[in-house]
Amino acid sequence: MRIAIDHLEFEYGLGRFRLEIPDLQIEGGARVAFVGPSGSGKTTLLRLLAGIVTPQSGTVTVGEVPVNELTDAGRRAFRIRHIGFVFQDFRLVEHLDVRENILLPYRLNEALPVYDSIESQVKQQAARLDLADKLDSPVDELSQGEQQRVAICRALLPRPELLLADEPTGNLDPKNKTRILDQLFQQAESAEATLVMVTHDHALLDRFDRVIDFTKFHKPEATHQ
């Protein structure tokens, strides 16, 4: 799923944050890393791509769909159908167990495609991320690393065409970091999905097809004024 950004302008906080991207093209199936200092707009661009927020001007096209021109309902439907998002703060539902958290996209949208038996899919995915024996555990009893893996599992299960990951290896030890990255890459490859990942870990960058530095996109307050 290719991504095209054209003359995008986004700001919030009465202009205290401003992101300007004149042109950005990402080929379908590419593995792209977003790097840059904190507050440079990496997470914001992931949210723009997912249609969680919309720009003041410009176009964000994902696949053939101009996401920012969709209605709120259209963006929600597009997001749940085509995008897997690993949030930096995991965004798990605390009172549900691991299995139900992983299955949440399916609970919220019964139209999502089911590959094989959904239960066996959950077990396989959980096993790949070393969560097989945690499926019935409440998520608030898990460690940070385990919670992060649950969030990744949830994003991967529906086999999205665009996988957005906001620092998915941030809370993991080196061994798990490698394993998670392998999983993300493998899943993206098998589904021919585009992978866009925010990271501060420069040691990982050589694994990506392309690295985009956000320093050039971010317009600090002083510049804007």
Binding site: I52, D72, I80, F87, L108
Partner: protein, 360 residues
């Protein structure tokens, strides 16, 4: 939250249904009792006494009055003497006409044929664990009054089929047996004394049970027409006879004739007024509960704001988000409603049994 909603639904439901059950039970009993005659005093007391055998301390009516009413040919006249209890159940002294009047059927045994026989209502038999050919001793009213009534051992001749009315609680005896229990009649043997220093040459032994052998010794002193009844049930033959009976007691200083349906209507009017007052209170309680619920729902929404945001981030539609929250509220209200209905139903079931008898 479920308990709060359940209670706010349960209270008015149970109160309404109980009042309806009370209205129905009292109304049905009153409707089958066209007229009652008794000593002047509280009209409600007399009607409840005649319908539910509730104890009444105000005056009596002479047995002769019932004879006079019967001879006047106004309709069916049934004497009632309800002053004593046996095993805690009211002893109802009456005539066999009462069974026909109330359409009471025997479930076991036979009707009372002899002095000292009794027929038990269904609940009375169950509570006392007695059946035909068993014995039942009446309760003494005052243990310290040696000159007063003595307990009389009754022979249970039969048990009535259940009717769901106050008749299920009664211990039915012939009115003459009731008078003997009250001490207006007795049976005794006279024996020669062997005591040399006895002032009298004879001893009197009072019988505490009526048997075929001693039955002939039972007798009443004085005029039986003056013996007391606590009420008389009258079933006039028509409107004319009803008016005549009412007229007969209109200016009577000591007796009154009442139409139970009218008195019960009046009583229910009072109950309805209490119900209206309670309804107003329930409305206030419901309003308070509504405000509390709104607060709880608002707080719950705030607590779960992050969860709702997660659903939004994943792409959950507004409709699904709304449906989820609506489903939760629906589950709470449905569960509370079911609990309230079941509790109200159980309460009214118990109350219906209690209200249908009102014995005391």
């Amino acid at each position: 939250m479920i308990a709060g909603v359940g209670l706010s639904l349960y209270l008015p439901l149970a109160a309404h249904w109980a009042a309806d059950a009370f209205d129905e039970a009292l109304g049905a009993r009153a409707a089958t009792t066209p007229m009652i005659v008794g000593a002047r005093g509280s009209r409600f007391d007399l009607v409840l006494h005649g319908l539910y055998f509730r104890a009444r301390s105000e005056g009596t009516v002479a047995y002769g009055e019932s004879t006079a009413l019967r001879e006047a040919g106004h309709g069916r006249v049934i004497p009632l003497h309800v002053q004593f209890t046996a095993g805690g159940q009211p002893v109802v002294g009456t005539s066999l006409d009462y069974f026909d009047f109330r359409k009471l059927q025997l479930a076991r045994g036979e009707s009372m044929a002899l002095l000292g026989d009794c027929v038990l209502g269904a609940n009375a038999a169950q509570q006392l664990k007695l059946g035909p050919n068993d014995k039942l001793k009446t309760d003494r009213k005052n243990l310290f009054d040696l000159a007063g009534d003595y307990p009389l051992q009754l022979n249970v001749s039969g048990v009535l089929a259940a009717t769901g009315t106050a008749d299920d609680e009664g211990v039915f005896v012939d009115v003459k047996t009731a008078w003997i229990i009250a001490g207006h009649g007795h049976g005794h043997n006279e024996q020669e004394s062997n005591a040399t220093n006895a002032p009298s040459a004879k001893l009197v032994k009072t019988h505490l049970e009526i048997t075929p052998e001693n039955m002939d010794t039972f007798h009443f002193h004085g005029d039986t027409t003056a013996l007391p009844l606590t009420a008389i049930l009258v079933e006039p033959m028509g409107a004319k006879e009803t008016a005549m009976v009412m007229g007969r007691y209109q200016n009577n200083g000591t007796l009154q004739a009442l139409k139970p349906p009218v008195v019960v209507d009046e009583m229910m009017g009072m109950v309805m007024r209490v119900r209206q007052f309670l309804d107003a209170n329930y409305a206030l309680v419901a309003s308070t509960m509504g405000l509390l619920l709104a607060l709880i729902v608002a707080l719950s929404r705030r607590l779960r704001a992050q969860e709702m945001e997660t659903l939004f981030l994943l792409g959950c539609s507004r409709g699904t988000q709304f449906a989820l929250q609506a489903a939760e509220l629906l589950m709470i209200f449905t569960t509370a409603g079911i609990l309230a209905l079941v509790a109200a139903w159980a309460t009214v079931g118990w109350a219906r049994d209690y209200l249908s008898t009102l014995a005391g």
